[in-house]
Symmetry: C2
Subunit: 240 residues, 2 copies
């Protein structure tokens, strides 16, 4: 893989970029925990853990603000070009994805609390567990890909989102069938459906995160490129 750090006249600038990267990865770590804790809280009916997930929202918002200010300050003060500029723009966009993943984790925690107080759903936990594991892994791997600037891993995360989308659709279809058979359960099953929807969105955000990384590494905007083509771009990049 190519080396992304360039020699800067200013040692100070290098350290600013490294701080920015560290803050981004810290924020990523908090959101990663929010996602996996929200899924656990729901599956284990753990209201204490669900409340913790909700409380972490403040930390995420705070980090979001800090990173945003750092990006703006570096752009104004250092006027970076080429790779440094790409890194800052890519982090600025990736942060927005993380922030929204955190929002979805908070929604899952809300539904976990509703299910604890209003009564369990008769169905859907198996699906949440399976899709939840896939999505939690996508979040972790997209952050690993960022930490190691790993293009292959980024492409594999983008591809995993396809499987999540398919599993999600199958789960919704089977829950609709179940509700038709037992209409009294509709209200409770709905909590599960919103959770699945949030998981599916977290998967989307992980994919976007990886697309921002591809832009960072090779400077090609791939936000609207399907996963197969993304793989080709990654291979071309390695040959180059």
């Amino acid at each position: 893989m190519r080396e992304l750090t360039t020699d800067h006249i200013s040692q100070q600038f290098n350290s600013e970029l490294e701080t920015l990267r560290q803050h981004f990865l810290t924020m990523g770590g908090v959101v990663e925990n929010q996602v996996s804790d929200a899924i656990h809280a729901l599956l284990e009916s753990d209201s204490h853990l669900a409340e913790e997930v909700k409380e972490k929202d403040a930390t995420v918002n705070q980090l979001d603000g800090i990173i945003d200010e750092e990006c703006t300050r570096i752009l104004a003060k250092r006027q970076p070009a080429a790779t440094d500029l790409r890194m800052i723009l890519s982090i600025s966009k990736a942060v927005a994805e993380l922030e929204r993943m955190g929002d979805e984790a908070k929604k899952i925690a809300d539904h976990a609390l509703k299910l604890i107080h209003e009564g369990e759903s008769p169905r859907g936990y198996v699906e949440i567990s399976r899709i939840g594991q896939m999505v939690a892994r996508m979040v972790r791997e997209s952050l690993d890909a960022y930490a190691r600037l790993d293009l292959d891993l980024a492409v594999s995360v983008a591809k995993a989102d396809r499987t999540v989308d398919l599993e999600y659709k199958t789960a919704i279809r089977s829950l609709i069938t179940y509700m038709m058979e037992d209409p009294r359960s509709i209200s409770r099953v709905f909590n599960v459906i919103w959770v699945l929807r949030s998981l599916e969105r977290i998967g989307d955000h992980s994919r976007h995160l990886c697309q921002h990384l591809v832009y960072l590494i090779n400077g090609v905007n791939v936000r609207h490129v399907p996963a197969e083509e993304l793989e080709k771009i990654a291979q071309d990049e390695k040959k180059a």
Copy 2:
């Protein structure tokens, strides 16, 4: 309202910024039409119009790419500071919101086609019409606010999102009650529920758009500030 254009040594730079702003407003116009057309297509069972909404996705993605490249090029070449830097960063973020609004409009068009082919939902059209009107107005006004750099309008859009959220929750609750009474309708009602969800999200994106505008105008990051406080910040800004 304060004047945001600053005197640039280079006339060329001014014209680059103006082009950027124009492209942004063009993209906004396309997305605004996508949203209102998607709602119309659904309410009037117009499959031709629904297909048109889906086709416009390519234009939106193309403009997204163009604007993104312009932002990066201006940052690299002109190394702007202060207001110009804020304008570029704000547009770069606002474009991401527009792009996602377009995605939601496309989803609404997909559900419109499903309802045409699989049969109408027995309920939910009144709600889609009412919430759809509110959301279409939010989209239009958030773009107007951008075009005129109108802080008051931005705050009023952010506040309108509250009403949309309440209306959305009421609509979902009443549809759940209906499905319990007529479980055979669940599958068709679901198409309507996903449409309401998309409308609610378009409202969220409009609110975010306005928050990016507040940042552009007064340099304060208000992404995590509730609507009442936003109003106060806007008033303080005018006094300043």
